[in-house]
């Protein structure tokens, strides 16, 4: 299996702050990998290392068999800017032309715009686009050079549901043709919908790296919800939320939790136990880490 990007023992510090701590990661060709983690976990630093914006303090970053700081290596890579910071004065077509001019292989401006539903907007100045249109243009730019690997940092932030789904279709289509995708997102739903492999990052370290199912099952968390006026402290609860008198508890041992609950003698009703979502798994992994387990 060809590895398109990898880090070997990479540490990145900003002064006193360690953003990444000895991270080793491989992105094989043709995979759709989701990077998941809370703000400040080190996701963006990791992406910035891969795309050559930063250099590691220690360790090696490899992209398409070379160093990301080498412009020739970046000819087969695409990136989406995290914020919608496109030059407002330029027209949509001009920006795509400008970006495309850097690549030896080009997707072609009209084709690219059509793929992302922007074909009517080629003559519009970027400043006049809606937030969603800007976002779609930003994602389209990642594909301008017919890349082998794209890094999509928060691709659908600020999009409505319909626009998000149509962007997901575009990303899936690229992946179906053999493209490799590295995706970071705050939306767990997004990672869940797209990624086949999930890398959970917290405090600069890789906490979990496995298939979607495995990460979900790895921690074996279950969501226990019930209605009760007041709950005693229960062992084994990794996260607890409360809306009115409805409680949502996350635990790795739901049987034990129910037994403890019954033994505590608290009156409750409407007990439901459901398998963990990725979000639940993610919370469980990061809270375990925080507790030093």
């Amino acid at each position: 299996m060809t590895v398109l990007a990898r880090t070997i023992g990479v540490t990145r510090r900003y002064g006193e702050v360690t953003a990444l701590d000895d991270v080793s990661l491989e992105i094989p060709a043709g995979r759709l990998v989701g990077l998941l983690g809370p703000n400040g976990a080190g996701k963006s630093t990791l992406v910035n290392l891969f795309v050559g914006l930063r250099r590691p303090t220690k360790g090696v970053v490899e992209l398409l068999g070379g160093a990301p700081s080498d412009p020739r290596v970046r000819q087969r890579m695409g990136v989406t800017p995290q914020e919608t910071g496109l030059p407002e004065a330029l027209r949509v077509g001009e920006i795509v032309d400008f970006v495309s001019a850097h690549f030896p292989e080009r997707a072609g401006t009209p084709e690219l715009l059509a793929r992302f539903g922007l074909d009517d907007l080629a003559r519009r100045q970027v400043g006049g686009l809606s937030g969603g249109q800007k976002r779609r243009l930003a994602v389209a730019l990642a594909f301008a050079g017919n890349p082998r690997i794209v890094f999509l940092d928060e691709p659908t932030t600020g999009l409505d549901v319909e626009a998000r789904r149509s962007l997901w279709e575009g990303i899936r289509a690229f992946h179906a043709e053999g493209g490799t995708v590295v995706l970071t997102s705050h939306y767990l739903e997004e990672v869940e919908a797209l990624a086949e492999r999930v890398v959970v990052i917290g405090k600069g370290r890789v906490l979990a790296d496995d298939t979607m199912q495995a990460v979900r099952g790895m921690v074996g968390v279950r969501r226990v919800s019930l209605s009760a006026p007041e709950l005693p402290a229960l062992p084994g609860v990794v996260d607890a939320q409360r809306v009115g008198d409805r409680h949502e508890l996350l635990t790795s041992d739901s049987d034990r939790l129910v037994l403890d609950l019954v033994a505590s003698g608290v009156p409750f009703s409407g007990l439901e136990i459901s398998p963990a979502t990725l979000e639940d798994a993610f919370l469980a992994i990061t809270s375990k880490e925080a507790a030093g387990v």
């Binding site: 900003y14 002064g15 910035n48 795309v51 050559g52 914006l53 930063r54 250099r55 700081s69 412009p71 020739r72 290596v73 970046r74 000819q75 890579m77 990136v79 800017p81 995290q82 914020e83 919608t84 910071g85 496109l86 030059p87 004065a89 330029l90 001009e94 400008f98 970006v99 001019a101 850097h102 690549f103 100045q125 730019l141 050079g145």
Partner: protein
């Protein structure tokens, strides 16, 4: 590589054109300075009028090179578009070249009304050849100021770049003898001027347009400033890479 330089120049220039007031300001600043400081004072002395025109044009070119690039670069670095452009497969050269060529293009536009004012309202004289070599001298003289502008722009955040480029520019201009009688400066300025790039640039422009013979020292120092400025600008660009958003 050369096509990327063209691409970057084109888009830099397009961005400028879409905010025309910026171009209007840089184009008319030299003309207004001419009308205010050269036309009323040079009378019918052709040499003084020609030297005055050349100096005023150079002054405007220097200030827009240094301050324009410093502020433009620092401002762009603060926008999220900048790190994105850095991920595109190109080194620093096309971006540097694109900025400098855009700045030069605007400068050439700005020179046109100045030459017209000089021709119709002063006693200044120049043959077409002198005009052309004067343009060439302006470009060479602007180089060290562009390098300093790139250095300041890549080394400092936007607000600091505005202040530092002004603080840098005026002593260089005054020390080079650009205010007062340029051909007969006070003793102190006469002593420091040859070491400043403004003096070398001025003597080059005078030589080209008015046939005033230049001295070697200011010209050598002009070259030194250009090379040292270029090295420092590349250093600042490299240092900037990987260091933003602490």
């Amino acid at each position: 590589m050369s096509s990327l330089v063209w691409t970057h120049t084109r888009y830099q220039f397009l961005e400028q054109l879409r905010v025309p007031i910026a171009i209007v300001a840089s184009v008319f600043f030299p003309t207004i300075s001419m009308l205010a400081f050269v036309v009323p004072f040079t009378g019918d002395d052709p040499l003084m009028a020609t030297v005055g025109t050349a100096s005023m044009t150079l002054f405007a070119v220097m200030s827009s090179s240094l301050m324009g690039l410093a502020i433009g670069v620092a401002d762009d670095r603060g926008k999220p578009w900048d790190p994105y452009v850095r991920t595109l497969p190109a080194g620093p050269f096309p971006r540097f070249a694109g900025r400098m060529l855009t700045s030069l293009a605007i400068m050439l536009i700005a020179v046109v009304p100045v030459v017209l004012v000089a021709a119709f309202l002063t006693a200044a004289t120049a043959t077409p050849l002198q005009l052309l070599s004067g343009l060439g001298a302006l470009i060479v003289g602007a180089l060290p100021f562009m390098m300093l502008g790139l250095l300041v722009g890549y080394a400092l955040p936007s607000k600091a770049a505005i202040a530092v480029s002004q603080v840098l520019f005026f002593p260089i201009a005054i020390g080079g003898g650009m205010f007062g009688n340029p051909l007969d400066p006070p003793a102190f300025i006469g002593a420091v001027a040859p070491y400043l790039p403004s003096r070398g640039a001025m003597e080059l422009v005078w030589a080209a347009t008015a046939g005033v013979p230049p001295r070697p020292l200011p010209l050598v120092m002009l070259a030194v400033w250009t090379v040292a400025g270029a090295a420092a600008a590349v250093w600042a660009y490299r240092r900037d890479e990987g260091r933003r958003f602490r």
